[in-house]
């Protein structure tokens, strides 16, 4: 099966990258297989669960709902860019405030949904300096987590605000 290949270029977590890809190649697969970004986790593949959430040109998107060719020319940020997205890292631990809060509040168990949650939460907090609880819940409703029961995730995000 000879599929045409398309030349694309993008920046992934700060590193420029160019490749020839099939037009139907999903961005999520491209990032995992060709861009060294295993933190992009695919859990549902149809845009509901949020595990594969990344930032493309400043906007949080589901990597499983985009084609790699659609990200041609884009700046892509995955979990590896969390320090950039949050703008700060704690010395010593190397963790961002959100990562530290997730750890302190036991807001992750199996960890599969965690990178996507952290990426979109970083974007959410950058856009909302003092969100209400309702806004936090509305934000988190875009993510499925089967282990934690969410309570500790909510607590972790609220703790970052204090």
């Amino acid at each position: 099966m000879n599929e045409p290949l398309v030349q694309i270029a993008m920046t992934v977590d700060g590193a420029p990258l160019s490749a020839r890809v099939r037009p139907r190649y999903l961005l999520s697969d491209f990032l995992r297989e060709r861009a060294g970004a295993p933190g992009v986790h695919v859990a549902c593949g149809h845009g509901v669960c949020g595990a594969c959430t990344i930032v493309v040109d400043g906007v949080a998107v589901r990597a499983c709902l985009m084609l790699a060719v659609q990200a041609d020319g884009a700046t892509v940020q995955t979990i590896a860019s969390l320090p950039v997205l949050e703008g700060t890292v704690t010395e010593g631990t190397g963790l961002t405030p959100l990562q530290q809060a997730f750890r302190d509040h036991h807001a992750l168990q199996c960890g599969y949904c965690t990178p996507g949650l952290l990426v979109s939460s970083a974007k959410f907090l950058a856009a909302h300096r003092a969100p209400t609880r309702a806004q936090i819940l509305d934000h988190l409703n875009g993510h499925l987590c089967r282990c934690s029961g969410y309570a500790n995730i909510i607590a972790a995000i609220e703790s970052v605000l204090q």
């Binding site: 099966m1 099939r22 139907r24 190649y25 995992r32 297989e33 970004a37 295993p38 933190g39 992009v40 986790h41 695919v42 859990a43 549902c44 593949g45 149809h46 509901v48 669960c49 595990a51 995955t78 979990i79 590896a80 969390l82 963790l95 990562q99 997730f102 750890r103 302190d104 036991h106 992750l108 168990q109 199996c110 960890g111 599969y112 949904c113 965690t114 990178p115 952290l118 936090i136 819940l137 509305d138 988190l140 409703n141 993510h143 499925l144 987590c145 089967r146 282990c147 934690s148 029961g149 969410y150 309570a151 500790n152 995730i153 909510i154």
Partner: protein
């Protein structure tokens, strides 16, 4: 046990570092570009004869590495194991690939291997399977009828399993009862929905040439033995590793066709092969949970004391056994919960239908049994005019009677004997936590259009077991210790908990212990992670290995110092020769001294221990839920959720609370949202998250968690399991709260819902009609 420096602390998890930074290594992270991608061609029919399999369109495609159907399987390869068949069970085993007949939509019929997954999917679409459809059996009632189509004509019936139990004289108790309550409770089919789907990779191990299978499984050690048996590969030639597992909940506690097929494909085509389940597949190819009905009859005295129950449990196990299908056994063995109920009779049957096979799912039979018994408690309270807490008080087993032999057995696990507990204390604690006494006032102040209700439930569940647990401790070259455990990390934080337990046992710093898990080379005889057994079994095994390690370290020291063994003592990770107490020896120094003396210390210090004493302990919990029912929208919100839990001594409250909350929200999901639906032709209607609704953050109640510790006398650490209690009590507490909110004990559908808005509206209409007869 030495001082408790770590045991009982809210120690944060050592697992979190890589998981927070996207560097956790899950199954899909192990795929290499040169591996073949396997795609499974699944039955599109619920019940049919296969009349033809045509690979001709793809067999010569250059990107096609190979195809396999049942006819291509080596002689003798075919059936998957079921662990809980009892005497008299009909062996309705699942095939690796369907042979002649398919029995559910999703059943594997063939596989195709290609150079990449996109192409494999293309090729799969061009492989033609021809079917002659057969009549379907889509529910247990139809399946039990005399004229029902048979899934396995050779068995003569769709009922493939039956067990009965009897305690005391229930007939006499029913004759003497003031009131008899008789209700049937139905439980819908749900999916476990671990966020990481299943997957398996078969490759040859570099160097040894052994077969190396990675699988996202809870039971790598059992999987290895079963794969060796099924494929004929020698056990010593097969290594299985469970990497970081992205959630399990029971659906990864089975032996699946795809795990066999990647291995067979590797042998047949000589190429490392992987398979990753997609979400749509997960809904039809990963085991389902829960579907059954329980008819419960209770003999109730005028004083509210229940003198007998009779349970008849009918389980819809789908098209074949999975690894552990017989949850009705668990349901009936435990249906009396914490209540005395001296007389008991039960029957449990499993029926095959044209649906995905059923397996254990977090809590196995306990959520169902608990709901049935706890609904009966509320109905009995209403019938005799007692407060709902008071009727429970009158029936609870008192703390002084432990251990309690319940006179029944749990299939495969022997007699049901509650080892420890304090049920009245759990009840009073939870009533206090949820504000039971103040609730009537709170209810009166709630808006009339959004009535509040409160429900109670009580869980007593078997934890641990599964066979003995091994552990191994090695000394690392830098003087730190390495614990090798058979407990698989599925999110519960075992590495942290086991390190806490071992650090205290040895008296060493937490940081000096490294924990490795999930590799059959390290722990070939471990059972795996299930039945809330990880911390209790893994922890006690680590202590046993720790004792062996201390003895080995003392022996080595005595040898090096030409001292008597009894003069060498172990104190907090340091070896002291009593004749030279001012020259304590660290493990690092011991290593160096041994090396200088020509002894291979890493071989001398390799301690294996095993915990296989009385392995089953019984955890207990009292739950209370407060719900608000919006009469206009039909939406139910769980407002407050209180649990007092007794899992014996709590090793890490942070992680135990995480288990309880996560489990309770899974139960909430089943109660309010989740259901795997089929149409009448057996086509699955719930195959993605647009039509299978999971709980989200906005549905989460306020949690109030408490612990009462009655240590288990059966293991030195006094622990009992904690992984499933949250889920097991939630269905009952929420269903009871809904019944309470709508003010009608009789019109709530007798089961776990899901209580969707349309369901709530029909309940409200029913209640209204009852209040105002036409």
């Amino acid at each position: 046990m030495m001082a408790s420096r770590n045991f009982g602390q809210r120690t944060r998890r050592r697992e979190d570092g890589p998981l927070l930074t996207g560097r956790g290594v899950y199954l899909a992270d192990l795929i290499r570009p040169d591996m073949a991608a396997m795609r499974v061609i699944r039955s599109t029919e619920a019940h049919a004869r296969i009349t033809g399999i045509d690979f001709s369109a793809v067999a010569n495609e250059p990107d096609c590495i190979g195809v396999l159907s049942a006819a291509d399987l080596p002689q003798g390869i075919g059936l998957l194991p079921a662990a809980d068949l009892v005497e008299g069970s009909a062996p309705a085993h699942h095939s690796v690939l369907a042979r002649g007949v398919v029995r559910y939509v999703g059943e594997p019929v063939a596989v195709v291997l290609a150079t990449d997954p996109y192409v494999a999917e293309d090729l799969a679409e061009r492989m033609a399977i021809h079917y002659d459809t057969l009549p379907v059996v889509m529910d247990v009632d139809a399946g039990c009828r005399a004229a029902a189509p048979l899934l396995y004509p050779q068995f003569g019936s769709n009922i493939v399993h039956q067990t009965r139990q009897l305690v005391g004289d229930p007939d006499r108790a029913f004759v003497d009862a003031a009131i008899t309550i008789d209700e049937t409770f139905r439980f819908q089919r749900v999916s476990a929905n671990s966020m990481e789907t299943r997957g398996a990779i078969a490759a040859l191990e570099p160097g040894s040439g052994r077969y190396l299978l990675h699988s996202s499984t809870q039971i790598p050690q059992i999987l290895r033995k079963e794969l060796a048996r099924i494929t004929g590969i020698g056990l010593e030639s097969l290594r299985v590793i469970a990497p970081q597992v992205g959630g399990g909940f029971g659906a990864k506690e089975a032996i699946y066709p795809e795990e066999v097929l990647v291995l067979l494909a590797l042998r047949r085509f000589g190429r490392a092969t992987y398979w990753i389940e997609d979400r749509q597949e997960a809904f039809i190819a990963s085991t389902h949970g829960r579907e059954e009905s329980i008819q419960l009859r209770a003999a109730v005295g005028a004083d509210g004391v229940i003198t007998a129950v009779e349970a008849d449990c009918l389980s819809d196990i789908g098209a074949a056994y999975s690894f552990l299908s017989n949850t009705p056994g668990a349901a009936v063995a435990s249906v009396r919960g914490p209540y005395r109920i001296p007389n008991f009779r039960s029957r449990a049957r499993s029926v095959v239908t044209n649906k995905t096979p059923l397996n254990v799912y977090r809590g196995a039979g306990y959520p169902q049994a608990t709901l049935a018994m706890e609904r009966i408690m509320d109905l009995a309270a209403a019938a005799v005019g007692l407060d709902r807490a008071e009727i429970r008080r009158r029936n609870l087993l008192p703390p002084e009677v432990f251990p309690v032999d319940r006179g029944v057995s749990y299939p495969g696990c022997g007699a049901v004997i509650f080892d420890s507990g304090n049920f009245p204390a759990l009840l009073e604690s939870t009533l206090d936590a949820v504000g039971y006494d103040g609730f009537p006032l709170r209810r009166a102040q709630a808006a009339a259009e959004i009535p509040l209700g409160m429900g109670l439930s009580f869980v007593v569940e078997m934890t641990g077991g599964g066979g003995g647990e091994p552990a191994r401790i090695r000394l690392l070259p830098d003087g730190r210790l390495q614990l090798l455990s058979g407990i698989v990390p599925i999110g519960q934080g075992s590495e942290t908990t086991l390190a806490q337990i071992l650090a205290d046992h040895l008296g060493v710093a937490l940081e000096t212990i490294e924990v490795l898990t999930g590799d059959t080379d390290d722990s070939p005889d471990a059972p795996g992670t299930f039945a809330s057994r990880g911390a209790t079994m893994g922890g006690n095994a680590a202590c046993r290995a720790g004792d062996v390690f201390i003895r080995q370290a003392r022996q080595l020291t005595a040898e090096l110092h030409r001292a008597r063994l009894e003069d060498i003592i172990w104190k907090e990770g340091v070896l002291i020769d009593r004749t030279r107490p001012d020259e304590p020896l660290t493990l690092g120094n011991l290593l160096r001294q041994a090396a200088a003396s020509g002894i291979e210390p890493l071989r001398a210090l390799d301690a294996k221990g095993r915990y296989d004493d009385d392995a089953v302990s019984w955890s207990s919990a009292c739950h209370a839920a407060v719900v608000a029912v919006d009469r206009a929208t039909g939406i139910i919100r769980v407002v407050d959720y209180a649990v007092t839990h007794d899992c014996g001594r709590v090793a890490n409250p942070l992680l135990v609370d995480g288990q309880i909350i996560g489990g309770a929200v899974q139960g909430l999901g089943q109660c309010l949202f989740e259901v795997n639906r089929y149409d009448e032709a057996g086509r699955p209607l719930s195959t993605g998250y647009m039509d299978y609704v999971l709980p989200t953050a906005a549905t989460v109640p306020r949690f109030i968690l408490r612990h009462i510790e009655t240590p288990s006398p059966l293991n030195p650490l006094g622990m009992k399991g904690a992984g499933e209690a949250g889920c097991s009590g939630a269905l009952a507490a929420i269903a009871n709260a809904i019944a309470d909110a709508v003010g009608s004990q009789v019109n709530v559908p007798n089961g776990s819902g899901p209580f969707t808005p349309d369901c709530v509206h029909s309940i409200l209409r029913g209640a209204h009609q009852e209040e105002t007869p036409a």
